[in-house]
Amino acid sequence: MSSSPRPRLLARMAAALVASTAVVCLAPAIANAALVLDTGTPTAGANLEELGTSQWFAAEFALSAGQTVTSLSTFLSGNTGASYTLDIFSGAFTGVRQSAQTLDYSTTGTFTTDNAWNTTNTNWTATTNGDYWVAIELTSTLPRGSVVNLETTANNGTAPALGFAYLGSSTNGEFTTSGAPDVAFQVNATTPVPLPATAWLLGGGLLGFLGFRRSRVAIRQRP
């Protein structure tokens, strides 16, 4: 059995319309993704901090409730292949003896590209307004003789860090801001599109579709 050309065309057009409506609905959310932390791209090779299994490096940034962190990036150099842990803490690291921060989110990343931003996609939404910290530590044993470095920056990117902290062998197992290096981080986050706007777009799309369908029926019913 072969279908008539007209319903087939209609089905195609309907599918295209639904798809375009969906794109229209989603587009604002994608466009709204922005860097909420960007310390700037480092000058390669300048003052490298070695990423080891016994020290963490962290940078501070602000989030509003409802913002979703979609990716975390660090600028790494050295021998690729190692894996690392990325954590998001809430609260402020000030001075020393700051081990009581709340761990809100944890993920892992892999060092894949030398001397470049290495990005891990995430999907975590902040529930409260406030300051947060993204922190990184090496978790895997490196291949023999390998080194992974975090590169430092002038903290002059599009969204400079509010502060830096680190945890090392000398800090009693606790983060400290004293002497913490300015290491390169980027955090990307989206703000959800308000429901009324989304509904308006979806509704508009559906109305358009119904209008189109009605006009097609009217044309078909003409003698």
């Binding site: 072969s2 080891g52 016994s54 021998n79 390998s146």
Partner: protein
């Protein structure tokens, strides 16, 4: 029914092509890092002991109030009781160990000054093998022996975990292990160690010859090193764990018996040098045969000397076996690094105000005056470095409490190569480069304050070096460290060396044309490499 866009196949092809290109790029990054993989690596550092009487100012701690947090750094504070008792800069050395574990090398060569030592650890005669478990109720030991045993035990405990993570520790004897200092803590100039020579060479109860620095190496001290470190060295042949930890077998061991160790020609005494100077080979891949040599630079009977006769024979035999690379480890540097070199030249002779003079193998010098001009001769040092140059080796040392990398020419002018000297005596001992204001007003020798005269950036950094042997044959060096304020571990890029050696260097250097006309020896030029950092690692 076939519902498909005509362009879809092309789109699929494009998508497939893009994904392949993307995958290729992604894989390319990984492949790039592995295109010249590391087939063997080792780390090296020395001098983790501290000084109970003269700890570095930045390691002092204060407890300002019973109601506030204590242990904050304070120049007027005191040394941590733990480090005072076991005489180790625990925090600095533990941080270094953690850093080395992260880099996961096959070997760690520890370049001496494992303990503060400096006593004369005379054991009861019944302790023929030096083991405490052989003692009896009727035996007693000297305080110096107890003092040194606990320090060795503390150090061994600190490095024990490295074996579990795949890094085997090779010990190098330092002067604090082999020598006795008549006035070192808990003794003093006014109440000297009765078993050691004093500075003027007068003897209390021994006729042992004095040396140039007021410190003297004794067989009992060398025994103490063997008793506490010998198992690590003998395992090169007994292989109870060496291959299991490193992944490689050690072959062609030398110096592990009295007959193969340096003899009278190198010690002037014939005292047993077993396990004090030793060597072995490792073959990480076909065509690469690495030769590692450890030397005792303070043998009893011949302080501040390298065993050049033994080394000459050892390296000649290694060449016969087709060794491609040579790495030599000793405690004392061949060329003393001058902390004032940034502003006042590199010469360490003669000693002057704020210049303590030579402290390495070049401390063993003679002077002669011709027409009122004083010249200095260092025959043992020169012969040693000529061997290093002949075989294209690299020499790693400690003793000076800093990090410094330099290229040094053959002082005899015989060979044209300029091998690297790598000083990494930066494992926790009090820095030689003192903080301004922490020397007494008279600035006695040994208390330099070049901070006020343009010292180098990392003179007061705790640091270690890691050498990587790549599949391509390139051998690179990377220096890692952290500040005297115990900041985060950094790559001390100015000291990284992209090409320390290449595979075959031992062969080609040995065959290199002998210098026809005598060259002017290069002075101890400090290396401040500006080579691209990343090149050192790939």
């Amino acid at each position: 029914m076939k519902i498909a866009f005509q362009g879809a196949p092309n789109l699929r092809r494009i998508a497939l092509t893009l994904s392949l290109v993307g995958a290729g790029l992604g894989c390319g990054a990984t492949a790039g890092a592995q295109s010249d993989p590391v087939i063997f690596s080792f780390s090296t550092v020395g001098d983790s002991r501290t000084d109970p009487g003269k700890a570095d100012a930045t390691t002092l701690l204060a407890n300002p109030s019973p109601t506030t947090e204590g242990g904050q750094p304070s120049l007027t504070g005191t040394i941590l009781p733990q480090d005072n008792q076991w005489v180790t800069n625990t925090e600095a050395f533990q941080t270094i160990i953690n850093g080395i574990k992260s880099q996961n090398p096959n070997l760690l060569f520890f370049n001496g000054d494992i303990v503060f030592g400096y006593g004369r650890p005379i054991l009861p005669s019944a302790w023929a093998n030096g083991k405490p478990n052989s003692w009896t109720q009727t035996e007693s030991v000297t305080p110096d022996a107890v003092f040194e045993y606990i320090q060795y035990a503390y150090w061994r405990g600190m490095v024990a975990n490295l074996f579990l993570s795949g890094t085997y520790v090779m010990p190098v004897p330092g002067n604090h292990e082999t020598q006795c200092s008549y006035s070192a803590e808990p003794y003093s100039s006014s109440a000297p160690n009765p078993n050691c020579n004093n500075a003027s060479g007068s003897v209390t109860n021994t006729s042992w010859p004095n040396n140039l620095t007021g410190k003297t190496a004794y067989p009992e001290n060398e025994n103490m090193f063997r008793f506490n470190m010998g198992d690590l060295i003998s395992d090169l042949t007994t292989n109870i764990r060496f291959s299991n930890v490193t992944g490689f077998f050690a072959t062609n061991t030398n110096g592990l018996t009295q007959t193969t160790a340096p003899g009278v020609s190198d010690t002037n005494s014939g005292n047993d040098q077993t396990d004090l100077s030793y060597s072995f080979d490792i073959a990480p891949q076909a065509g690469v045969l690495l030769h590692f040599v450890v030397i005792n630079t303070d043998p009893s009977g011949n302080d501040s000397t390298a065993p050049v006769n033994w080394l000459s024979n050892d390296l000649a035999a290694a060449k016969q076996r087709g060794v491609t690379n040579v790495f030599v480890f000793g405690h004392k540097p061949a060329f003393t690094y001058n902390y004032l070199s940034a502003t006042a030249g590199t010469s360490v002779l003669p000693p002057t105000t704020n210049n303590p003079g030579p402290g390495g193998l070049d401390a063993n010098y003679t002077t002669s005056v011709v027409n009122g001009v004083t010249t200095y001769a260092t025959p043992n040092r020169d012969a040693f470095w000529s061997l290093i140059a002949q075989y294209g080796a690299t020499y790693f040392s400690g003793h000076e409490h800093t990090v410094n990398i330099s290229e040094q020419a053959d002082p005899t002018g015989t060979y044209a190569t300029t091998p690297y000297q790598v000083i990494v005596g930066s494992g926790g001992s009090p820095f030689d480069d003192k903080l301004v204001g922490t020397c007494s007003a008279s600035k006695p020798p040994g208390c330099v304050e070049p901070n006020s005269a343009g010292s180098h950036e990392y003179d007061r950094y705790y640091a270690w070096a890691t050498v990587s042997v790549h599949a391509s044959g390139n051998i690179s060096l990377q220096v890692s460290g952290f500040s005297d304020q115990f900041g985060p571990v950094q790559d001390l890029g100015i000291y990284d060396v992209a090409t320390l050696q290449t595979v075959g260097q031992a062969q080609t250097a040995a065959a290199a044309a002998v210098v026809k006309t005598k060259k002017t020896p290069k002075t101890a030029a400090t290396r401040h490499s500006t080579k691209p950092l990343l090149a050192a690692r790939h």
